[in-house]
Symmetry: C2
Subunit: 264 residues, 2 copies
Amino acid sequence: MKSYDKLNNSIEKSGSILCVGLDADIDKLPLGVERNLEGLLSFNREIISACAISASSFKINFAFYEQYGVNGFDVLLKTIEEIPKDKFIIADAKRGDIGNTSKAYAKSAFDFFNADSITVSPYMGSDSIIPFLEYKDKMVFILALTSNPGSADFQRLVSDGEPLYKHVIKKSISFGSTDSIGFVVGATHPEELEDIRQMIPENYLLIPGVGTQGGDIEAIIKANNNCPAIINVSRDVIYSSSGENYAEKASEKAEFYKKRFSNE
Amino acid sequence: MKSYDKLNNSIEKSGSILCVGLDADIDKLPLGVERNLEGLLSFNREIISACAISASSFKINFAFYEQYGVNGFDVLLKTIEEIPKDKFIIADAKRGDIGNTSKAYAKSAFDFFNADSITVSPYMGSDSIIPFLEYKDKMVFILALTSNPGSADFQRLVSDGEPLYKHVIKKSISFGSTDSIGFVVGATHPEELEDIRQMIPENYLLIPGVGTQGGDIEAIIKANNNCPAIINVSRDVIYSSSGENYAEKASEKAEFYKKRFSNE
């Protein structure tokens, strides 16, 4: 099945556009979980199981596993294997390099880790993005306007009357089909999101920045105007309790966000 | 010792600004080397040993190891351990994400893999770059004008009279000291390099794109105007022979580039 169809199906089945971000952090593991990589994997397993009913997607932030070196990658792989087969998986790796190198990154995310999609940095242009799109069944989320304060530094530089992030969107949609290309737009920019949705009403957006980063949910839901999107929450769901009831609390928080995102 | 001093010392001792890129590719391994990860590590060991006398630095392109999954990372680590301690090591990973995530990437490259420096993508701005610079003894090479054709797509977009890559350079030099910040400028752009050298005569440049990518060596050496730089060659050195004499041929090729780069 194409990843695009898998994402549509998963949203329909769960009734949720929530994506849960599995940001691994041994120092934040709750009471009763061993503070080592085995504990981390066991924690991820419980969190996935607790949140699966309220989420259509899971996002794995590669950095948080890479920080633990070779064994961290092993936990990354095993974490992905714990995710139910009908849930959409995002390799949040923000990769991008010259053609033959991006091809190797795509091989890692799609063939080895078996993710449905990957986040890609557009700075190096077309030949850094296209190798990911050569996996016709997969999806690529290209960074457009990110959620962090530094997004103002370069993404908003205006050239020919338009900011860089719009140039990125306009150029990138020519690289492949609507159902293979999505963009990352931070929840911290509702005004710009409204504008982006007019430019690309059909492409999926991955919207991070809700929760710890402080994006305004109502403003984002309104600006998104029911266009295809998934909204990611990481820390605020998975570390919602530092006690032994962490899985139950994460489950409640995921259900809370599911409802908030569907205007229930 | 600070990475900056290590790089200066290594260049002085070897008399070489050549950086050898260890792009792992099992399919390109020469005759007599087993086509598996053990063979790859053994090949890297021989190449490092053969090229060390003619190179000041080694660049590890993470993608080529990541494509082999968890065990590929193990080969990456073991490859770094094979590099002589006085040689400068670049983690060519092109990472960059929001603050707490870039911090995790920095931990991976610097604490786990023990690299002296990392390549970083600037798209996400200041807070995606600064966590790497918090390792005061390390160096960060920020992508400015890359060697690939796609560099024209966004890096050359003009805003306020200057292309994006110049905005990246001007903004980024404010993030840290001259001896901790370098930039990546492709050997395929000698004219722009001349201009960049006038902007930042003191920062190190990492110059890829010589060899297979076709950068003009003489034009690049002239444009660099004896400013601090290392020039990377990957495939054209390490895969210079597909026969059993591969180490000898790589050694000769490294010596050839060392001399070309020093105008001997």
